[in-house]
Amino acid sequence: MPKKGVNENELLHVAEIARLKLSDEEIKLFSKQIGDVIAWFDKLSEVDTKNVKPSMHPLENVNVAREDSVEECLDTKDVFANTNHKEKGFFKGPRIV
């Protein structure tokens, strides 16, 4: 099977989707490594999976649901306990544009 690497542009595209800013060293390191691993993933294509259903879980488990009832909410103190980015009862986040 031909080895299919991952070029730098492709790596940067994936990193962008994943919101990861990679350093130059990481780009160098990962281009090769990710390419190798993906080529290894390609082994899966050897398996004939025609008419095979995918398994999302090891055991089938359907229709687990709860009744529609209101439960206690989290204390405001706990809501904001792990952040400094807060203002007037809101969380603060980065701007959109």
Binding site: V6, L11, V14, A15, E16, I17, A18, R19, L20, K21, L22, S23, E26, L29, F30, Q33, I34, D36, V37, I38, W40, F41, K43, L44, S45, E46, V47, T49, V52, K53, P54, S55, M56, H57, P58, L59, N61, V64, A65, R66, L74, D75, D78, A81, N82, T83, N84, H85, F91, K92, G93, P94, R95, I96, V97
Partner: protein
């Protein structure tokens, strides 16, 4: 003294818990200095627990918890810098059940960041050292749990977590017992996710009887985790003999295993035969595909789980500069370690449009075939037996030289049963030059009792 005797004595009031814990924590700090097994030691919280300790099945027992499990108001990092100061406002179900039975949480054990690794070297804070040789790894990702279980000469049970072998690997390398229950047997509520369709919480201890005790406490349906199985929980401490068990030995599980380990494992299998089991060699044909199928599935799920860490609400925060794309990318670049980034990229790639069918969906189909492989084996076998790890605990300097794929290959024996969600138990089966080898027993879904029965028969 083992945990069972200790609890009995503590219940009778024969142990002064205050004194016991004062001495214990001194010891824990010393151990941690040498072996680096804890991310957080919970001395103050433990003494707070002692003030009002429920007289339950774990009364007074020291319990350590892998740092991926949330503990209310106690730092929970999952081994990641991005959560280095995170204090959850709730207990994970497993921790809540342990506390409700009088177990005392002594600390949060070291792990690979988010469980990403087999040697606990990918932790943002510390790297646990193997108690048998501190130049060597404890295995991982529950390395801290394996380490403290082996090294602490006091009653104690550890809680580990396995996605692809993270309980079995440290159990084997550290020479202790580790049980990975059936997927869904134990609630994952409050477990910081690695890969949700694979993550399983399980006990680690010096003996199998202690494991049975802990499994009794933590197993069972949980309304807060809709993937838990609504199945009856037997009394795992009721041990039966294993006479007449058919033990399958999959031949693929000896490929590439060092001879000295294979020999020890066969010795253990012979012992099972001596106890009245029948041994049967068989083949699990999908074994070699289990590894890439596992890595595709695990990284796909992991890369979505890790999206939530972006410098809002909790976790690492930076000044709010730039737009959200810039800000999130910067926080994540600083907060995640190298292996986390690698797995995020792999997982994002495997589920991208254009690749989704080829990798993600194909892996789920291969997973079906792996499950079928095991299901077929368990039609004729009660248990499967194999080595847990193909090698003895590796030296840190050897690990540094491994490429990611070579590193992932180390999970070759544990990944398939994890992918199939079947329960498995690793128990020590002798040592080679002072380093322990592990026997891996696997059973059909929900057949933890068979593992425990065989484990007690071999190891106690």
């Amino acid at each position: 003294m083992n945990a069972l005797d200790f609890i009995k004595k503590a219940k009778k009031g024969e142990i002064n818990l205050e004194d016991f814990y004062s001495k214990l924590f001194k010891k824990l700090y010393d151990i941690d200095k040498k072996y680096e097994c804890f991310i957080t030691i919970c001395e103050e919280e433990a003494f707070n627990q002692l003030k009002n300790l429920p007289n339950g099945r774990l009364y007074g027992l020291p319990v350590s918890v892998k740092d991926a499990l949330c503990t209310k108001d106690v730092r929970t990092t999952a081994g990641s810098r991005i959560l280095s100061d995170y204090k959850p406002p709730f207990d994970s179900t497993v921790v809540a059940r342990i506390k409700a039975e009088g177990g005392v949480i002594i600390g949060k054990t070291c792990m690979d960041e988010f469980g990403f690794g087999g040697f606990s070297t990918n932790c943002a804070f510390k790297v646990p050292k193997n108690p048998h040789d501190i130049e060597r790894s404890c295995g991982g990702s529950s390395g801290g749990a394996g380490c403290i279980t082996a090294v602490l000469d006091e009653p104690h049970i550890a809680i580990g977590e396995s996605t692809g072998g993270s309980i079995s690997s440290p159990a084997s390398f550290c020479g202790v017992c580790g049980l990975t229950p059936t997927y869904g047997r134990v609630s994952r509520y409050g477990l910081i996710d690695y890969a949700n369709s694979l993550d399983k919480i399980g006990p680690m201890a010096k003996t199998v009887r202690e494991i049975a005790l802990m499994l009794n406490v933590i197993a069972g349906f949980d309304e807060k985790d809709q993937t838990t199985l609504n199945e009856n929980v037997p009394n795992y401490e009721k041990i039966d003999n294993i006479k007449g068990f058919v033990i399958g030995v999959p031949k693929e599980y000896f490929d590439g295993v060092s001879d000295v380990i294979a020999e020890k494992v066969w010795d253990a299998i012979k012992k099972l035969e001596d106890k009245g089991c029948k041994i049967k060699e068989l083949s699990l044909k999908m074994t070699k595909y289990a590894l890439p199928a596992y890595y595709v599935t695990a990284t796909s799920e992991a890369s979505t789980n890790l999206a939530k860490f972006c410098g809002m609400r909790y976790g690492l925060e930076l000044p709010l500069e730039g737009n959200f794309n810039e800000y999130f990318s910067k926080v994540r670049a600083q907060g995640f370690g190298e292996e986390a980034k690698r797995r995020i990229i792999l997982g994002t790639y495997a589920r991208m449009s254009g690749y989704r069918s080829k990798y993600y969906l194909q892996a789920l189909k291969v997973r079906t075939l792996v499950i079928n492989d095991f299901k077929k084996a368990f039609k004729t076998c009660d248990l499967l037996a194999a080595p847990t790890m193909p090698v003895l605990a590796p030296r840190f300097d050897e690990l540094e030289k491994l490429s990611p794929i070579e590193n992932y290959m180390m999970d070759v024996l544990t990944v398939a049963p994890n992918l199939a969600g079947i329960p498995m138990l690793s128990i020590p089966c002798g040592s080679i030059d002072g380093l322990p080898a592990g026997l891996h027993l696997m059973a059909d879904h929900l057949q933890e009792q068979k593992l425990i029965n065989a484990g007690v028969a071999l190891h106690g």
